[in-house]
């Protein structure tokens, strides 16, 4: 199974919610990588917003200063 996060959209859950079709659950203020179509539906429903924060698992160079 591939983990192609490039085609996904990083978004933040605005509140706890569940998807009955996929059985997925989402927790308020947590970030997730969404399929674009699912993100569009959740965003339209007011459940998510784009998460502009840098990924926490992004590699950092030792000694580099934050931008």
């Amino acid at each position: 199974m591939s983990d192609d996060t490039n085609s996904k959209i990083k978004g933040k859950a605005l509140r706890d919610f569940n998807d009955a079709g996929t059985s997925a659950s989402f927790v308020k203020d947590q970030s997730y990588n969404f399929e674009p179509g699912a993100f569009a539906n959740y965003k339209a429903a007011g459940l998510v917003e784009p998460d502009e924060a840098p990924a926490q698992d992004a590699p950092r160079k030792a000694g580099s200063k934050p931008a």
């Binding site: 998807d19 079709g21 179509g37 569009a40």
Partner: protein, 147 residues
Amino acid sequence: MPGTAAGTTLALSAGKPATFDVAGFAALTYTEVGGLDKIGTFGAKPGKVEFQPLKGVKQKYKGPVDSGALAPSMAHDEADAGQNLLRTAADDQQGEYSARVTYPDGAIRYFTCRVFGYDEAAEGAENMLMGSTTIEIISVIVKKAAA
């Protein structure tokens, strides 16, 4: 093969199909509406145009086709993504949404729609808090047969 409606699902998409055929609708991503207890009856039906000649029986013709509406009801759930999309669509004055009804045998019905309101019903202590709405179909109903 005849069977019960158990397992039938209703799902919505905020997107619209590029083409009004199975391929166009199937390319969209849908979010299932949870907690449904029924979807209701729906289907395209032509209006009736009547003409009563001075002599003879009344003539009846087929008029414009109305694709009908669904009247689903559900156990109200604030945390269900599909229900939230349904309620957003109800508040959206002009927005068009795509819908997918999937039957237990795999047959699918696709259409675009507008959602007219969302009623909440607190009928009594021995009843679930329910929600209901009317989904008016505004396109042809695209049918995909069971595999």
